[in-house]
C-alpha cells in the first residue's frame, strides 16, 4: 500500500517516517529488469500477457515493467489499472473510498494477467483484486508481481515475481517510491 494511500485512510493513517533505505533506485531498476525476464521465461514470451497495476502503488511499477517487456520482447503488453476499494473485506470496518477509476482497456478473457503491486503484506488487497478481476472476464491465468514481499500473510496467497523479500515486524511500514524502498514506521 502506497504511503499516500495509508496517510489518507484512517485509522491506519499517519505520517510515514523512514528508518532504513532497503533498496535504492538502481536496485529497483535492476529488480524490474529481472522480473521482466522472469515473466517472459515463465510465459514463453509475452503474447497473451497483460499487466494490471493496483491503485495506487502498483500502477507506476506496472508501467515500468511493461516498458521493460517491450524492450526485451518487442511488443508492449496492454496495461490496466485496478482500484479494489469496492471489493475489500474491510468495508464498514474502516473508511474505504476508491482513489481512482479502474481502467482495464483490453479483453481479460483468455489472457494471462500479471497483477502488479508495490508491497505484499496480508494478501487481502490481492484477494480483493482477484475478486474484482473476475468481474471483467475469465483470465487464462493470474500471476502476481510485487516489489516487496514483507510477510505476515493472512490468506493463502503467494507472489510469482518478487523484487525483494523483506522480513518485517507487523508494526513497521514499507514505502516504495521513485527513488527506492524505505522501511520505517507510521506515526499516528
Amino acid at each position: 500500500m502506497a504511503e499516500r494511500e495509508r496517510r489518507k485512510t484512517p485509522p491506519y493513517g499517519g505520517v510515514f517516517v523512514a528508518r532504513t533505505r532497503v533498496m535504492d533506485g538502481d536496485d529497483v531498476h535492476r529488480a524490474l529488469w529481472r522480473m521482466a525476464h522472469e515473466v517472459l521465461e515463465r510465459n514463453q514470451g509475452a503474447d497473451d500477457v497483460a499487466l494490471v497495476g493496483l491503485q495506487t502503488g502498483g500502477v507506476p511499477l506496472a508501467r515500468r515493467l511493461a516498458g521493460n517487456l517491450e524492450q526485451i520482447a518487442g511488443d508492449v503488453p496492454p496495461v490496466g489499472t485496478l482500484d479494489v476499494a469496492l471489493h475489500r473485506d474491510d468495508i464498514g470496518v474502516r473508511p474505504v473510498l476508491p482513489e481512482e477509476v479502474t481502467d482495464i482497456p483490453f479483453d481479460v478473457d483468455g489472457r494471462t494477467i500479471v497483477l502488479v503491486d508495490d508491497v505484499l503484506f496480508t494478501g487481502r488487497t490481492i484477494r480483493a483484486a482477484l475478486d474484482a478481476l473476475h468481474h471483467y472476464g475469465r483470465p487464462r491465468a493470474v500471476q502476481l508481481a510485487v516489489m516487496i514481499d514483507r510477510g505476515h500473510r493472512e490468506l493463502p496467497i503467494r507472489p510469482d515475481y518478487v523484487g525483494k523479500n523483506l522480513p518485517t515486524r507487523r508494526d513497521e511500514a514499507v514505502d516504495v517510491h521513485d527513488d527506492g524502498v524505505d522501511l520505517g514506521e507510521m506515526l499516528k
Binding site: 489518507k8 482500484d83 476499494a85 469496492l86 471489493h87 468495508i91 464498514g92 470496518v93 474502516r94 473508511p95 474505504v96 473510498l97 476508491p98 482513489e99 477509476v101 479502474t102 481502467d103 481479460v108 475478486d131 474484482a132 473476475h134 468481474h135 471483467y136 472476464g137
Partner: protein, 313 residues
C-alpha cells in the same frame, strides 16, 4: 480521496455543500466504470438492506435506486402504497417503525408532502440512513446530482455554465434541488416560466428570471425542461396547454435555433408535445437517456458513501 464528513442522511442538496457535491460526482466516475463491466456488480454493500418507501408513483427513481442497490450487492425491498397496510389506515410513522424493526440500513423515501423524509430521519435509529427521493414541491437531491453529473460529463464541469430551467418551477422539487446544486458548483441559472408557474417569492434564490424563452435560448449552455405537472395543477395557472407550448415549449422551431453544443435535459416523465417536442426529445442535443444512465451510478455513489464507507457515522 478523503471522505468529507457528510450527514448520515441525504435530505437536501443544501446539506451537501460544494465539497459534498464534488465528492459525490467524483465518486460517481467509479460507479460509471463498475456499470460498464462485463459483470456490473461489486460486493461493497453485501448484507445491507435498502428499502424503497414510495408514497407516490415513480418509474425511474424507484427502479434506479433498486438497480443501484443491487449492483452494490445490497438486498432491496419495495414498499408501495397500493398493496400495503396504508390502505388499512397505517400512519407513516408506524409504517417506518415496522419496516425498521425488520432490520434495514437505508430508507429511500418519496412522499407527496414536503418534509416527510426529514420527519422519517427523526424517527429512525442511528444505524439507518434516509435518502430523500422526492418530497412534495421541496427537493429531489439525487436528481440534481445526476443532472450535474450529466452536464459535467458532456461539458467538463459546471463552472461558468449558463443554465435555463424552463417550465413549472412552482411545483417542481427538481427545480429547487437543481438550482441549489448548479449554483453551488458555479453555474448561473435563469428560470424561464410564466409568472403563474413561479413560486410566490424568489427571495434568496440565486437566480435570474425571464418570461421570454426565445430571448434566453441564444445565450445558454443547457436547457433543462420541467414536466407540466397535470396531476398537481388543479388551479387554472395557464390558459391552455397549447398556449403554454407556444410560449415555453421546446418546439421544433426553437430546437433548430439552438447552438449545436447546447444540452437539452428533462427529468422525465416527458409530456411530448407539451414542454418538449418529439423532435427535441430525440435530437442529438438531448441527453435525457444519459440522465437515466447516470442516475444509477449517482445513486450507487450515494448508497456507497452512506452505507459502505463508515465515514459518515
Amino acid at each position: 480521496m478523503t471522505a468529507t464528513r457528510l450527514h448520515r442522511h441525504i435530505l437536501s442538496v443544501a446539506d451537501l455543500g460544494r465539497d459534498g457535491l464534488e465528492e459525490l460526482l467524483k465518486l460517481t466516475d467509479t460507479f460509471v466504470e463498475v456499470s460498464a463491466r462485463a459483470i456490473p456488480k461489486a460486493p461493497a454493500l453485501r448484507g445491507k438492506t435498502v428499502v424503497s418507501l414510495f408514497y407516490e408513483d415513480s418509474t425511474r427513481t424507484r427502479l434506479s435506486f433498486e438497480t443501484a442497490a443491487k449492483r452494490l450487492s445490497a438486498d432491496t425491498m419495495t414498499f408501495s402504497v397500493s398493496s400495503s397496510s396504508v390502505k388499512k389506515g397505517e400512519s407513516v410513522r408506524d409504517t417506518v417503525e415496522t419496516i425498521e424493526a425488520m432490520g434495514i440500513d437505508a430508507l429511500v423515501v418519496r412522499h407527496g408532502s414536503a418534509g416527510v423524509p426529514l420527519r422519517v430521519a427523526g424517527w429512525v435509529h442511528d444505524r439507518v440512513s434516509v435518502i430523500n427521493a422526492g418530497d412534495g414541491w421541496h427537493e429531489h437531491p439525487t436528481q440534481a446530482l445526476l443532472d450535474c453529473y450529466t452536464i459535467r460529463q458532456h461539458r467538463g464541469g459546471l463552472e461558468g455554465m449558463r443554465i435555463a430551467i424552463v417550465g413549472d418551477v412552482k411545483h417542481s422539487r427538481v427545480a429547487r434541488s437543481d438550482v441549489l446544486a448548479y449554483t453551488a458548483l458555479g453555474a448561473e441559472v435563469v428560470l424561464v416560466a410564466p409568472p403563474t408557474l413561479l413560486p410566490p417569492s424568489l427571495e434568496g434564490w440565486p437566480v435570474t428570471v425571464s418570461h421570454d424563452l426565445d430571448g434566453v435560448l441564444g445565450s445558454v449552455d443547457v436547457v433543462g425542461l420541467l414536466r407540466m405537472q397535470t396531476e398537481r395543477t388543479t388551479e387554472a395557472l395557464i390558459p391552455s396547454l397549447r398556449e403554454y407550448t407556444a410560449g415555453y415549449g421546446l418546439t421544433r422551431a426553437r430546437l433548430d435555433r439552438l447552438d449545436d453544443k447546447v444540452l437539452v435535459m428533462h427529468p422525465g416523465p416527458m409530456n411530448r408535445g407539451v414542454e418538449i417536442s418529439a423532435d427535441a426529445a430525440t435530437s442529438d442535443r438531448a441527453v435525457i437517456l444519459d440522465q437515466v444512465r447516470n442516475g444509477v451510478a449517482v445513486r450507487m455513489a450515494v448508497l456507497y458513501l452512506l452505507l459502505g464507507t463508515g465515514a459518515l457515522s
